[in-house]
C-alpha cells in the first residue's frame, strides 16, 4: 500500500505545483528599479551593443529562447505582432545557449524569458514563460 499512497501524495503535490505554475507563468513583473544606470554586472540597463541591435525608441522586447522550448515559438510570434503593431517597439530573439555570459549576467534561468526595456534601455519588466499578448501591451502602456 505504501506505493499507492506515495503515488497519491506525488500527484496531489504536483497538481498544487501545476496550478501555481499555470497562474504565474508568463506574468509581466515590474523589476526592481532601486538603482538606475548600468552596473558592472549589467544588472539594470542593456545597451544596443550588448544585444547587437538598435533599441526601439519607445521600448525593446528582449526574448531569450532555447532549442528545447515549446512556448518560445509562440512567444516570438506574440512579441513580433506587438512590435509590428506598436510604433517604436523593437523585438529581439536571443539564443540563450549561445549567449551564456549575458544569460548569467541577467540571471536568466528558464526560457522563454522576456525583458521589457524602456527607450533608455532600462529593464522595467520581466516575464518568464509564455506571456499573454494583452499583458505585453498593458506593460508597454505602463512605461509612459
Amino acid at each position: 500500500m505504501t506505493g499507492f499512497y506515495l503515488v497519491l501524495a506525488i500527484l496531489i503535490s504536483a497538481t498544487a505545483f501545476g496550478l501555481w505554475y499555470r497562474a504565474n507563468n508568463g506574468r509581466m513583473r515590474t523589476t526592481d528599479m532601486h538603482t538606475a544606470g548600468a552596473d558592472e554586472h549589467g544588472g539594470e540597463t542593456i545597451d544596443a551593443q550588448t544585444i547587437g541591435v538598435t533599441l526601439g525608441t519607445r521600448a525593446t522586447l528582449v526574448q531569450f529562447s532555447s532549442a528545447f522550448c515549446q512556448p518560445c515559438r509562440a512567444t516570438r510570434q506574440i512579441l513580433g505582432e506587438v512590435s509590428g503593431m506598436v510604433e517604436g517597439v523593437a523585438h529581439i530573439d536571443i539564443d540563450a545557449e549561445a549567449n551564456l555570459e549575458l544569460v548569467r549576467a541577467l540571471d536568466i534561468r528558464r526560457t522563454p524569458t522576456v525583458l521589457l526595456l524602456d527607450g533608455a534601455g532600462r529593464i522595467r519588466k520581466r516575464a518568464s514563460g509564455l506571456p499573454r499578448k494583452a499583458d505585453v501591451i498593458a506593460a508597454l502602456g505602463d512605461l509612459d
Binding site: 544585444i51 532549442a67 528545447f68 515549446q70 515559438r73 516570438r76 544569460v103
Partner: protein
Amino acid sequence: MTISTGANAGLTSATETGPCTRVSIDPRGPRFGGAITTVVLAIALITMGTAFGIAVIAWQTIVFALGAFIGLRAQPYGWLFRTFIQPRLPAPAELEDSAPPRFAQLVGFGFLVVALVAALLGGTLVSTIAVAFALVAAFLNAAFNFCLGCEVFILGKRLTRSN
C-alpha cells in the same frame, strides 16, 4: 520588427538554428504520451520491489530510449496516438517542433536508467526516487503542458559550461 540574427554580436535565433532536425508534430501527441507514461510510472511505483515492477521500469526505459534516440514516431505511445486517437480528432490548430518533447524523453530516459539499475541491484529507495521524479515530470507535462526543456536546459548549461 523582430530581429533574430544579430550577426555582429554573433547572436542566432533558437527557433531557426537549433541543434536538432526540425520535425513538426501534433502537440496533442506528446501530451497523450505523457498521460500514458504517468499511468505506467504510477504502476511502477505501486509495484516497486517486485519482479513485475522491474519489468514495468524496463518497459518504460525502452519507451523513453526509442523516443529520445530514434524519434517520437518510433515511440510506442506516439504510435498509439497516431493510429487510434489522431484519426478521431480534428486537425490540430498548429504544429509544434519535435525537439522539446524529444529532450523530455531523454531526461525521462536518464531517470529511468538510474531507476532500472538501482532496482536490479536491490536499491529500492533510489529506484523509487528516480521513478518519482519521472512521474512528476510526466504528470505535469500531460496535465499542465509543462515544458521540461524550458526549465532545465539553460540552467543545466549555466551550471555545466564555463564560458
